[in-house]
Amino acid sequence: MQLTVWTYEGPPHVGAMRVATGMDGLHYVLHAPQGDTYADLLFTMIERRDKRPPVTYTTFSARDLGGDTAELFKNAAKDAYDRFKPEAMIVGASCTGSLIQDDPGGLARSLGLPIPVITVDLPAYQRKENWGAAETFYQLVRALAGPSAPAPGKRRPERSTGVRPTCNLLGPTALGFRHRDDIIEITALLAKLGIDVNVTAPMTATPADIARLGEADFNVVLYPEVAAQAASWLQRSFGQPFTKTVPIGVSATRQFIEEVAVLAGIDPAAVLKASASRLPWYSRSVDSTYLTGKRVFIFGDASHAVAAARVASDELGFKVVGLGTYSREFARDIRAAAELYGVEPLITDDYLEVEAKVQELQPELVLGTQMERHIAKRFGIPCAVISAPVHVQDFPARYAPQMGFEGSNVIFDTWVHPLMMGLEEHLLAMFKDDFEFKDGAQPSHLGAGHAVPQKQPAPETTIENVISVPAAIWAADAENELKKIPFFVRGKARRNTERFANENGVATITIETLYDAKAHYAR
């Protein structure tokens, strides 16, 4: 058993729902008790979908357990077919459904429905949402595209000259972080390169579209968490190579263009030259100098976290002080990236562990999921969301991709806005001795709701006690001197001074200790 307060990922059948809900013409019949229908609201409320997810739940109850739950499943599947007339159906069980061992796949086959029925067996007590999405997508691709795979050993026919190269975009699902806009951005980018998109899947695809995945020359894996497994199978079965670069950030987008150009056999020079993001210039403009070395903590799914670390470090000049993921399946990628930035990788799905890490590191910016938004809000640290799980405000009305050149513009804005602007930081320092300038004055753009970290909010729990108990005591004059330091760096100054005092066996912190520590930690 694992004690869990908040969970980053839902159960694997929610991953299957994300695949089914993103698609058209596919229906999911799920052997599950009534409470499991809550999952519909993820799509209708958080993503504001205007249709119910294409999911039929058998909603068996305790009374049914003594009777014939198998019959219940068959009736539900039959009724769902009659009502929704899907092109294909996936069947499976939720965590409770799997315990009663009714074999949804066998039951559905026994109905003899005139459509493909695909069983998705998701081990609910071992795996989680992203794995469930990946497995479901893979099973769909195998079942629907498999029949048109060339015989083993037979090579793909060469593309005739004059025909535009094509690719599939793999990975976007319902409830994905900015998947809706990433599809548009990358499709447009590929069009500029002269590459057509054959199928985008699972989101926007029908079962018939899945069946013709093999017609493309190569695959673009937008979200490895969902599409890596299917892409590997397509490579083996259809000889379709796939992209390894996730085009988030300017340098990754350029790298992606070059990678795609090789796969498509085209010259990317014109597009590389013409396509521009404002990020590089904004980052070089003088107002951005204050961004230099901002300490940033990054947590999310592995692909978004690794991409965010690269953008933060290379394109914004931040310092990555923490990097982690809740996707254990992709822990290796995070470990490799963490080594690059010289930080300890944090591989966990325990929200409290992430919270403790943020508290320990006291970053100046948190880039995370909606969970880290809560953590950051509690500690009064600016935050931007970079990865699922996300909440309703992360499905903005405006076009806001993460990928491609426009994605880089969006990233610059959304990461930099929570921070104080350079000019503002400068003025705050200038006016800090002004009698009208209140110590707790807030950056004007953050509004009253945004907590200024005047003091650390007392956690309800005992986490704080484990972290550090300062042994050194502050002398009154040192405490006064500390107050003259601008409030937004005061917390760091306090911690550094205490650490310095403790490490050097200083019992009482004087003004001298304060400045000794300042010199010691000077960048």
């Binding site: 119910r52 539900a76 939720s94 409770t96 909606q370």
Partner: protein, 429 residues
């Protein structure tokens, strides 16, 4: 003070024969009883709810609340893993480990509920024995109880029923010479305080509440306890209280002016309060509430409403909407129809109002679309899809999270139904 016993509450004419009832079984689009934790943990502030379940349970609770609550909540899930399913001995050892870890982490907790879930019920993990075993270990600083919030046993608000029923056996006994009025069912603190003042003005008391705000301040119960249900979904809790000798005062539920008056009157009658006193005490409240309701009545009168089953509050709500706001009832769905506890309500429902018990959501949606109601009360999974079809909706979960009982909330309750209609009328784009 003398207590008069109430005359027989349920007459045969109230058996709902005047209301055609649709009974269908199919997909039920409702929450399970675990959802109750979302409001129960706010109500009993020194209690912790530990769900023994799967990742789905954890995901449900954090999703059902709509937004996550900041800081560390007073609930968590012990997520069962493959090895817990293999052997129950191990599962019990694991549970002990988790509970010990939790209590070390949260020394402020005085009451811990082990909450059963679908998977724990199916593998027959005996949480009552676990609660007993762990109680011995942590007594007296922490009391450990258990109940089931599983979706195979409970629907949405039934989780509160199961929780309160689990509290009844540990409620201290009250001597035969004492008497009290017990209000049963979670109410917002502000509503409790209003009712406390009203009962005091009426000379009714002492008044106690279940659940209490602190687990260390449990009410007591004995043969002279009379109880009023504040919520319509408390079948098991009422039965458990009756087994302890307490007597239920039959009444409609305190929604709207009429419901609140009749609810208070049931207690007043049991306490032998002079009707003139009752009239004098309640009249200003009634007048004020009716004034506040008037503008909403103009908005809502004649509008046709369809209620999907959700919280079991549907029948009292329908009674309020039809009698005090002149709305027309198309269909009143409820997950369960407890005819005894709802007898007073059913008597007041307009003759011919169609009820539905249980659900086949697809068929119900067909009926709803065909009826083209002005307003649909439904869960979060259905609301936006119906809005997209041009049907105005009210999320039913807000009726649980908002203080709606009593005189001073009657207009707030009406406003919840008026707002979606007002909004739709305002929007031009």
């Amino acid at each position: 003070m003398t207590i008069r016993t109430q005359a027989c509450a349920v007459s045969d004419t109230a058996r709902g024969d005047t209301h055609p009832t649709i009974r269908q079984s199919g997909q039920r689009e409702v929450f399970c009883g675990l959802t109750g934790i979302v409001w129960l943990h706010r109500k009993i502030q020194d209690a912790f709810f530990l769900v023994v379940g799967s990742r789905t349970c954890a995901h449900l609770i954090q999703s059902a609340a709509g937004v996550m609550i900041f800081a560390e909540p007073r609930f968590a899930t012990a997520i069962m893993e493959e090895k817990d399913l293999a052997g129950l001995t191990d599962a019990n050892a694991e549970l002990d480990r988790i509970v010990t870890q939790l209590i070390e982490r949260r020394p402020d907790i005085r009451l811990l509920f082990l909450v059963g879930s679908c998977p724990s019920e199916v593998i027959k993990l005996d949480l009552s024995r676990a609660a007993l075993r762990l109680s011995q270990k942590f007594s007296p600083s922490v009391r450990i109880l258990n109940y089931s919030g599983s979706g195979i046993e409970t629907t949405f608000t039934q989780g509160e029923d199961a929780c309160l029923a689990s509290l009844v056996p540990v409620i201290p006994p009250m001597g035969a010479s004492e008497c009290s009025l017990l209000i049963v069912g979670s109410l917002a603190d502000v509503v409790e305080d209003q009712f406390t003042r009203l009962f005091e003005s009426l000379g009714i008391g002492p008044v106690e509440f279940l659940p209490p705000r602190k687990s260390t301040a449990l009410p007591s119960v004995g043969p002279n306890t009379r109880f009023l249900l504040a919520q319509p979904f408390l079948a098991d809790t009422a039965r458990a209280l009756e087994e302890r000798g307490a007597q239920r005062l039959p009444a409609p539920f305190p929604l709207g002016v009429e419901g609140t008056t009749a609810w208070l009157a049931a207690a007043a009658q049991a306490w032998g309060v002079d009707p003139a006193v009752f009239e004098k005490v309640t009249q200003p409240y009634r007048a004020r509430a009716q004034r506040a309701l008037a503008s909403y009545k103009r908005e809502l009168a004649g509008r046709r409403i369809f209620l999907f089953p959700d919280s079991q509050l549907e029948i009292p709500l329908a009674r309020f909407l039809s009698r005090e706001l002149s709305m027309e009832l198309i269909e009143v769905g409820t997950p369960y129809l407890h005819r005894e506890h709802l007898a007073e309500e059913l008597k007041m429902l307009p003759v011919g109002a169609t009820l539905s018990e249980g659900q086949d959501v697809d068929l119900q949606l067909d009926r709803c679309r065909a009826a083209r109601p002005d307003l649909v009360v439904c869960g979060l999974g259905l609301a936006n899809p119906l809005e997209a079809e041009g049907i105005t909706t009210k999320w039913s979960i807000e009726l649980i999270f908002t203080p709606i009982q009593g005189y001073d909330q009657a207009a707030d309750l009406a406003e919840l139904f008026a707002r979606p209609l007002v909004r739709r009328a305002r929007l031009v784009a």
